[in-house]
């Protein structure tokens, strides 16, 4: 029997058709993966099921009954829960308080704390989740916070659970735990819909897969009947190279050299310990590591946002220790930051204004303090075409209305178009679809071909392995290993990422 049936559902934003007559059937007790490129309409579709967005036309049936949700509350009442990528938890409250937020158990004027805790812990234990109801949100890991969001829904007795890109914020280990939890939930009879860009996750957990493209239904297939290559092809509409080919690099001079850098965070704890690294012309250097082991701080130190306590960063024979971000850009260092919407883009500014940010004072765009609007518009059109950025014909629209992958392409296009000598990218393809990942990776390799230097910081091990010529592994604020990609394996790097070393051998210099 179908738990959810969607018939001819359509959603328009103004003239733009985000969802175009989609039909979807989700069976009871299955894990159903939704795949599609950035901007295909996955989130929009799910938000309609959860009552966050109202459909323009079409029908939604839950257990055979037609529904018209006005709000998530109504959806939850009908047994549909959704976990968004951005958690809505109160950090200073405990797990159980968060789970019962808005549904406190009250007797008279008093909240029954003991009872609350016991009830929540019962749910946690019932589903066998690794959580303690009395922990504060601010003290637990991102993975645990996500479990809180899931329990929050389960505690409200939903039997359909929707997860929008749940693994985007998780470490590989946490992702595995999550998938195990989801499989266990399915086995206990829940229906699960999961949106993800990572096809290996799809292969691991899904029973059936629905692919949408440009807002249209492409097909639903059984997981066991397809391989990753075929799913990717359905998503993109053409063959996608999942493993990238690149010729050997011809290394030139050292472009950037970090010598024994130490740094402290704002809160006063040391975050970088004696980090040394270098990158040469025509080389891609990867920084691998489980997220939170100092990579973000390294990025900040390299991009002039974090003051060094000691040590030195030398770029093309000049020290850049105290250089401002603007000075670094002048020296032809391109930066693609980790947090796209905080540092990479100005969400409420237009697409075209975002495409010149940081370079807006250059002669090309700015003459005697006056912006050259024509040139700026032309530049935007040009980049959108060259970088295949979708759904932005009108470049005066806000960047925030683009889907995640297209927004990331804006940042990458901007930084690459300024033709830097060194490009530093942090999490360059987070939340980006498979076709765009391929594209971005090709751009990075093309860059290397031009004898430029690239540093890629990524918690995605496979990304580091495919792109880099040489890899540094970070653990607890230190570089604990350096390997040539050709002479190492995923397994070896994985072991290093866990902090296990025995006898260091150095390469490079």
């Amino acid at each position: 029997m179908n738990n959810i049936e969607v018939v001819n559902l359509t959603k328009k934003f103004g003239d733009f058709v985000a969802i175009n007559g989609i039909n979807l059937e989700v069976k009871k007790g299955e894990i159903h993966a939704i795949c599609g490129e950035n901007g295909a309409g996955k989130s929009t579709l799910m938000n309609m099921l959860f009552g966050l967005i109202e459909p323009s036309s079409g029908q939604i049936f839950i257990n055979g009954e037609e529904v018209h949700f006005q709000s998530p509350k109504e959806a939850i009442h009908q047994g549909i829960g959704m976990v968004h990528q951005h958690f809505k938890l109160v950090p200073s409250l405990t797990v159980y308080e968060n789970i019962l937020l808005g549904e406190e158990i009250v007797k008279g004027f008093k909240i029954q704390q003991r009872k609350e805790y016991e009830e929540v812990q019962k749910t946690i234990d019932h589903y066998n989740f690794d959580l303690n109801g009395k922990d504060k949100i601010q003290d637990i890991s991102v993975g645990a916070q996500q479990r809180v969001e899931i329990i929050k829904m389960l505690h409200r007795n939903v039997d359909i659970l929707i997860l929008d890109e749940p693994s985007a914020v998780l470490t590989p280990q946490e992702t595995d735990e999550l998938l195990d939890n989801l499989i266990a939930l399915r086995n206990s009879g829940k229906t699960i819909i999961i949106i993800t860009h990572k096809l290996d996750e799809v292969k691991k957990c899904a029973d059936r897969i629905t692919v949408i493209r440009h807002g249209k239904f492409i097909g639903t297939v059984n997981n066991k009947d397809v391989n990753q290559q075929e799913i990717a092809k359905m998503m993109v509409g053409r063959d996608v190279k999942l493993d990238l080919q690149k010729e050997d690099s011809e290394r030139g001079n050292v472009v950037l050299l970090a010598k024994n850098i130490n740094a402290y965070s704002d809160s006063g704890s040391q975050v970088l310990y004696d980090v040394s690294m270098n990158v040469h012309e025509g080389e891609i250097v990867g920084i691998a590591g489980v997220e939170g082991n100092g990579q973000s701080f390294l990025m900040n130190a390299l991009s002039g946002m974090l003051k060094l306590e000691s040590g030195e960063i030398i770029y093309q024979d000049n020290s850049i220790n105290d250089k401002s971000p603007q000075a670094l850009r002048d020296m032809k260092i391109g930066l693609v930051p980790e947090d796209r919407y905080l540092h990479g883009l100005n969400s409420t500014m237009s697409i075209r204004d975002n495409l010149i940010a940081g370079y807006h004072w250059r002669k090309q765009f700015c003459d005697f303090g006056v912006l050259q609007q024509k040139e700026i518009a032309h530049h935007a059109k040009d980049l959108i075409e060259r970088f295949d950025i979708r759904n932005c014909d009108n470049t005066s629209l806000e960047v925030g209305s683009l889907s995640g992958g297209n927004a990331q392409k804006i940042v990458i296009a901007r930084e690459m178009s300024m033709n830097p000598n060194l490009l530093i990218l942090s999490q360059p393809t987070r939340g980006v679809d498979i076709g765009s990942i391929e594209f971005i990776h090709q751009q990075i390799i093309e860059f290397r071909r031009k004898k430029k230097a690239v540093i890629v910081i990524s918690s995605e091990l496979s990304e580091v392995m495919t792109l880099s010529d040489r890899i540094y592994v970070m653990y607890k604020g230190r570089v604990i290993g350096e390997r040539l990609t050709k002479q190492t394996s995923k397994e070896e790097i994985g072991v290093l990422m866990a902090g296990i070393t025995d006898g260091e051998a150095k390469f490079g210099e």
Binding site: S43, H86, D164, Y341, N346, T348, D353, W361, A407
Partner: protein, 356 residues
């Protein structure tokens, strides 16, 4: 409706709503006092707009408000709260008056320019205090600018009461400025003067600055996302200083214009809260120069039409203050909604979701 139209329309509608609400509530108050709202309002608008003289007087009332509105809006645009426009206006006014009565023998046009520039510079220097404190010591500019208003008002009152008091004057005023420093009136029967031209000139420059110049782009960017702006290399401290300086210049010009065109000497506490009205206008105009112009015009109409409403219908002029107060109230409500709840939260969720 296509998206481009919407972009224009939404802020206009959301600015019109508080004004409409204020007029509606105002009409109830008029009814309660036993008058007919329609009659009162039509007297208000015809008093302000029918006839050449009426229109000129309305523009006269609008003149300082354009400048104080722009001064506030420039800073607001970059998310800097210059609440010190009133104080900067006073310093600009006094400096203009001082230069106006001391520089004997300066040729007429040049004298006016010197006084305007002097007024602008003193407004700027005064605005630099909170700017430097904010840029280099991270001191909240809102508090500093607010406090400095009192300092400026008291200081200029002192100057006009003791060292520069006009001999024989009964209140705290200076002697008259020299005729060569006066901004000329255009016609007899209206006080409209060259200050209006100054205000329109400043409006055009500010419009150009915000919409066409690099600095305007940076103000916009800083106002929307300061972390981003810093990351892409804007020197925030420097920009704060520049933006506050420009804001202070415009505020100083507002004061100078009033002295050279209207009072022709410095009168202590001459401003009927031009700075604060400018703040309301900047909010009403959504920090947009054209919006500020429209807002200033509305307040000019209210001010000028108020007396004919009193004269012809009998509704007390203080109703105008009530309407202005109501506009502020409804604006504040609108502000709260926008900044602390629904709209931003929804938007945030929408954007964050896409970090995907």
């Amino acid at each position: 409706m296509n998206k481009k139209q919407k972009k224009w329309l939404l802020p206009i509608i959301s600015s019109l709503i508080p004004v409409m609400l204020a007029f509606i509530v105002g009409s109830f108050l008029i009814m309660l006092s036993g008058y007919k709202p329609l009659e009162a309002y039509s007297a208000l608008f015809s008093g302000a707009l029918s006839g050449k003289i009426a229109i000129m007087n309305t523009l006269f009332a609008t003149t300082p408000l354009i400048l104080t509105g722009l001064a506030t809006a420039i800073a607001f645009k970059a998310n800097i709260y210059n609440m010190g426009v009133e104080g900067q206006l006073y310093l600009g006014a006094f400096t203009a008056a001082f230069l106006g009565f001391t520089l004997q023998g300066t040729p007429p046009v040049i004298h006016v320019f010197i006084c305007l520039i002097g007024g602008a510079l003193s407004g700027m220097l005064f605005a630099l205090i909170p700017a430097i404190l904010k840029a280099f010591f991270n001191v909240n500019e809102m508090v500093v600018t607010l406090m400095l208003n009192y300092a400026a008002i008291l200081f200029t009152t002192y100057l006009a009461s003791f060292p520069f008091k006009a001999p024989g004057a009964s209140n705290a005023t200076t002697i008259d400025i020299l005729p060569s420093a006066e901004l000329p009136r255009f016609f007899q029967g209206s006080q409209l003067n060259g200050g209006f031209i100054v205000a329109i000139g400043v409006f055009i420059m500010v419009w150009f600055l915000i919409n066409k110049m690099k600095l305007g782009y940076e103000m916009n960017s800083i106002g929307r996302n300061i972390e981003f702006s810093e990351y892409v290399g804007m020197n925030i401290a420097k920009k704060i200083i520049v933006i506050m300086s420009i804001s202070g210049i415009v505020a100083g010009l507002a004061g100078a214009g009033e002295i050279l065109g209207t009072h022709r000497r410095f009168v202590s506490e001459f401003s009927p809260d031009y700075g604060w009205t400018g703040l309301t206008i900047a909010l009403l105009g959504k920090h947009n120069p054209v919006g500020v112009l429209a807002g200033a015009l509305l307040f000019g109409i209210l001010k000028n039409g108020g007396s004919s409403m009193e004269l012809m219908v009998g509704v007390p002029r203080s109703l105008i203050d009530v309407i202005q107060g109501l506009i502020i109230l409804f604006l504040a409500v609108d502000f709260l909604i926008h900044h602390f709840s629904l709209v931003t939260k929804l938007k945030e969720r929408f954007n964050r979701k896409k970090v995907a």
